[in-house]
Structures are given as structure tokens and as C-alpha cells.
């Protein structure tokens, strides 16, 4: 198979997972789709490296995380202060806590490293060793991030509310 055909197969198999991973990292819907697309484009450009990677999933996920970090850096830099903030209020979630909202808010309260570890371990279903490789940290560090993230999620008020059956 040629590069294009291989890539199309790869993209069709991974695009949704990449976009959803970006969503779980904290990107908006549109950002998540853009990040997944940008990651796939980079995969094509560096296709020999992607195909040669010992753990392709970890390698590609690392690319996604880097794209996400870059997008945050760009966004930070491109943002300009304004005296007229957009007149849109966030929805009041009181009493309307559903499971997705609860986990979204709980994830937003995790540190970036903990959040990445949780997404890789429990959404991408990676082993602790793969999580460590993807994040570029020792396995022990990945384990401690996961452990702290689990503890924080368990104590999170939104998750607690969800557990108590107050979710809709």
C-alpha cells in the first residue's frame, strides 16, 4: 500500500479517538476536531517516523498532546485584553448536573499532568508504562500522577453529587 492509502486507513481508525482525547484534555468541540486534524496532518508529514515508532499509539497521542500544548500557548499569546467581554454567560449547572458535565468540571480541576494521565489511562486504555512513555516521564511519576488524580476525582464535589443520585 502506498503512503496515502495507509494514511487514510490510519486516519479513519484514529481520528475520532484523537478528537475525543483532545476534548477530554479540555478543548472545545471545534478545537478538538482541529487538533485531531492537525495531528493527523503531522502524522502524514512525519509518516516514516510514525510507522517506525515502537508504540505508534503512544507516539501519535504524544503528537496530539504537543498540538494541544502549542494551541494553548498560541491562544495565550494571541489573546488581547478587551474592555468589552462577550455577553455570554455560562449555563447554570446547579440542579442540572449530568455525568458528562460532572466529569468535565472535575477534570478541569485536575493539574495538566494528572488530566493527561487520566485520559491516557482510562480513555485511551493505555498501560501505566505507555502512559509514562507518552508523557515522557518515568513510570513512577505516571503512577503517582494517576494516584493523585484518582484521589482528587474521588473527592470532587461534582462527582460526589453525581454519586448521591442528584444527577439528571
Amino acid at each position: 500500500m502506498d503512503r496515502d492509502a495507509d494514511f487514510v486507513d490510519f486516519a479513519s481508525a484514529h481520528s475520532t479517538r484523537l478528537a475525543r482525547s483532545a476534548l477530554l484534555l479540555g478543548a472545545s468541540h471545534h478545537e478538538a476536531e482541529d487538533l485531531a486534524q492537525a495531528t493527523l496532518v503531522r502524522c502524514y508529514v512525519y509518516w516514516p517516523k510514525v510507522t517506525a515508532a515502537a508504540d505508534r499509539d503512544a507516539y501519535v497521542m504524544r503528537m496530539l498532546f504537543n498540538e494541544f500544548a502549542r494551541s494553548r500557548k498560541r491562544r495565550w499569546w494571541n489573546e488581547r485584553p478587551t474592555e468589552q467581554p462577550p455577553d455570554t454567560a455560562l449555563a447554570d449547572a446547579t440542579g442540572q448536573v449530568d455525568a458528562a458535565d460532572a466529569i468535565a468540571r472535575a477534570l478541569s480541576r485536575l493539574g495538566p499532568g494528572q488530566r493527561e494521565a487520566i485520559v491516557l489511562r482510562h480513555y485511551a486504555h493505555m498501560s501505566e508504562a505507555q502512559v509514562a512513555e507518552t508523557l515522557g516521564v518515568p513510570v513512577g511519576t505516571a503512577k503517582s500522577r494517576l494516584s493523585r488524580a484518582h484521589r482528587q476525582l474521588a473527592e470532587d464535589a461534582d462527582i460526589e453529587t453525581l454519586r448521591n443520585g442528584q444527577a439528571t
Binding site: 481520528s15 478528537a19 476534548l23 476536531e33 493527523l40 496532518v41 502524514y44 508529514v45 468535565a104
Partner: protein, 350 residues
């Protein structure tokens, strides 16, 4: 919170993004365009590398000779300029010994592209001083070799250019070789030989080794290849490979990702940068900016912006481009900031 609970909740959140939300056809089209831009940038990096030769090191052209040992064609620099296509690799001057391999850290090979007049390049990096990295598939190419540049911990050790006749030699015809003379490297302990092997069967060229050592000067030392720009560095400006950066400069070139000039618009001639012990302060046109940086020898990183005025204007994206900078080199008063692939990002003059 159990693992099952966590996975269940993450799945619920993830499913807010519908399946198949990305159009694959569009991705492939965009990916191909990005790949073309990437290859173009790599070609531009060659220009940056050549500029780096001018800027920071001792640019000495090296003759390349060829040898057919029955398995393929070996092309090697011949420090003494006595190219002998019948000689065995081991009889070449400056035979490889690990202790002689010292300074070279990166080798940039430039090949002829399929399109006439365009070139592509492949960088080969050696991370452990004093060792030789064996070639692998990723370091081979079926393209014709055009140019060799070596980079070392001391900026540029040497560079060589293979002329068109030499290019013919690497793809299987051992009877032809570089007809130009050689210029010997006058410094003991620097690179005197680059060995490449062209596999006659696959017509791939691989970097085999980099050899260092001293040799007798050649009477043709002063000969310069047509494509090679040679300039002695202002050695007083550097200290053992450490580029002295502190000072105030005008930004005389700002290069975009695709090699385009970004010094356009009404503020193009107002960009300045002042380096002072890890803190860069300057003007990006109509805004005052500050960025923290770290320099170590030829490695330079802009770490984080420390301040910026917020005047809205159409100014060149100086600070954004600074975050692409990974290396610095200088010749005399001129300083170049390079990307990771040595492509020039910024040119500075007093």
C-alpha cells in the same frame, strides 16, 4: 472512584463529540499540502546551514572521491586531495579510529531533488562524542548527493560540496569522480573525511562515518568550490563555541515557517532586540516586548514572554517566531538565530 466509574464517565463526556466528525478527504488534502510545505522548508534549511557555515565556523571545502569496492560506491572526502578510485577504503588517508572522531555532531546531506534546480536535505546527528553512528534505512536516500555540511560542538567544523561530476559518481559509476581540487583542513583534530556508501543495488546513499585527524596541507588549500561560501569567523567574538549574545541589535531579517520574509509593513524597520543576561527586551514594531531566554554554547531557547505592551497594530510576529529558535551563531557583528534544523529565523545587526 473506581477505574470502571472513571472510564464510564470519560466515555460519556467523549461521546459528546460525534463519531466521524472529521472529513478524511479534507485531511488527506491538507496533509499533502503540509508535506509539500515541509519539504520546501527543509530545502530552505540548507540555505540556513550554508549561512551557518559562513557565520560561525571555519568553512573549508572538502573534495569527495569515490571508490567501487564491488558492493557499491564509496564516496569520501580526501583530505590530501589525492582521489584514487581504485584505493580500498582502509587505505584512504586518515583511516577511521574512534579516538579521532571528535567534533562533528550533525551532518547535513543535501541531495538533488526530482525537480531540476531544487534540493532536499537530510540531517544526521551523532549524539555521543567519539563514536560513530552506523547508518540505517532512515539515513539512506536514493537521491543524488549534492552537498555535505558538518556541524560540531565547535560550531562548524568543515563543509564539502560535491560537484555535478561527483554526483554522477555516487550512483554507481565508479569511473567518475569529483574533478575539483581539495582544500585541506588546517586544524588538527577536525574532520578530514566523510565516508558515504552508495548501495549499487538500491542506489541508496548512506553516511558511514566521520573521520577526524590532521594531515599535511595541500597546495590547493585556497581553491574554493563554486557553490561554497567560505569566510573566516571573527574568532574574538566567540569563546570555545559560546556565542556572545549580550548587546543591542536591529532585526534585519525575520523568516516565516515557509521561508518567507516577515519584515513587511510599516513597522518592518523598527524591530530591535537587546540581550542582557537571560532577558531579551525589544520592540516588535509598535509594541515593547520582553522574553526570557537561555543560552548554552550554540543552543538558544526563548522560554517565556515576560511582558508586552498591548498596542493593536499590524506588526511582524517577532515573538512568535522567537519560540521556534533553537540555535545561535555569529560572524563578526552579525548574529543569526536558527530553528532546530538550522534554518535562519532572525538576522541581527548592531
Amino acid at each position: 472512584m473506581t477505574q470502571h466509574e472513571t472510564e464510564h464517565l470519560l466515555k460519556q463526556l467523549a461521546q459528546r463529540l460525534p463519531e466521524g466528525s472529521i472529513a478524511f478527504d479534507g485531511v488527506l488534502t491538507e496533509a499533502k499540502a503540509a508535506h509539500r510545505r515541509h519539504m520546501r522548508r527543509k530545502r530552505l534549511a540548507v540555505a540556513g546551514a550554508v549561512m551557518a557555515v559562513v557565520g560561525t565556523g571555519i568553512g573549508v571545502p572538502v573534495a569527495l572521491s569515490s571508490h567501487d569496492d564491488g558492493r557499491g560506491i564509496e564516496v569520501a572526502t580526501d583530505g590530501a586531495g589525492t582521489s584514487d578510485p581504485t584505493a580500498s577504503p582502509t587505505s584512504m588517508p586518515g583511516a577511521l579510529t574512534p579516538s579521532q572522531v571528535s567534533a562533528a555532531r550533525t551532518v547535513l546531506l543535501t541531495y538533488m531533488d526530482e525537480n531540476p534546480g531544487a534540493n532536499v536535505d537530510t540531517a544526521w546527528a551523532r549524539h555521543e562524542p567519539g563514536t560513530v553512528k552506523q547508518p540505517n534505512v532512515g539515513e539512506c536516500t536514493s537521491r543524488e548527493l549534492l552537498r555535505v555540511n558538518l556541524f560540531g560542538s565547535f560550531p562548524i567544523v568543515t563543509s564539502g560540496v560535491l560537484d555535478p561530476d561527483g554526483v554522477t559518481a555516487v550512483d554507481g559509476n565508479g569511473s567518475e569522480q569529483s574533478s575539483e581540487g581539495a582544500a585541506a583542513d588546517p586544524l588538527a583534530g577536525t574532520v578530514t573525511e566523510v565516508r558515504l556508501v552508495a548501495d549499487a543495488r538500491t542506489e541508496k546513499v548512506c553516511l558511514m562515518s566521520v573521520v577526524t585527524g590532521s594531515h599535511d596541507p595541500d597546495p590547493r588549500d585556497q581553491q574554493i568550490y563554486p557553490d561554497t561560501v567560505v569566510q573566516q569567523p571573527a574568532e574574538s567574538e566567540s569563546d570555545g563555541g559560546v556565542v556572545l549574545l549580550d548587546g543591542t541589535y536591529r532585526v534585519t531579517a525575520l523568516v516565516g515557517q515557509d521561508g518567507e520574509s516577515l519584515l513587511t509593513g510599516p513597522f518592518a524597520d523598527r524591530l530591535t532586540m537587546t540581550f542582557d543576561g537571560g532577558q531579551m527586551a525589544g520592540s516588535s514594531g509598535c509594541n515593547e516586548v520582553g522574553v526570557r531566554y537561555r543560552v548554552n554554547g550554540q543552543d538558544l531557547r526563548f522560554i517565556e514572554p515576560t511582558y508586552s505592551s498591548q498596542v493593536g497594530c499590524d506588526e511582524p510576529p517577532l515573538v512568535e517566531r522567537l519560540f521556534e529558535v533553537r540555535h545561535v551563531s555569529r560572524a563578526g557583528d552579525i548574529v543569526w538565530l536558527h530553528a532546530a534544523n538550522w534554518m535562519i529565523v532572525v538576522e541581527l545587526r548592531p
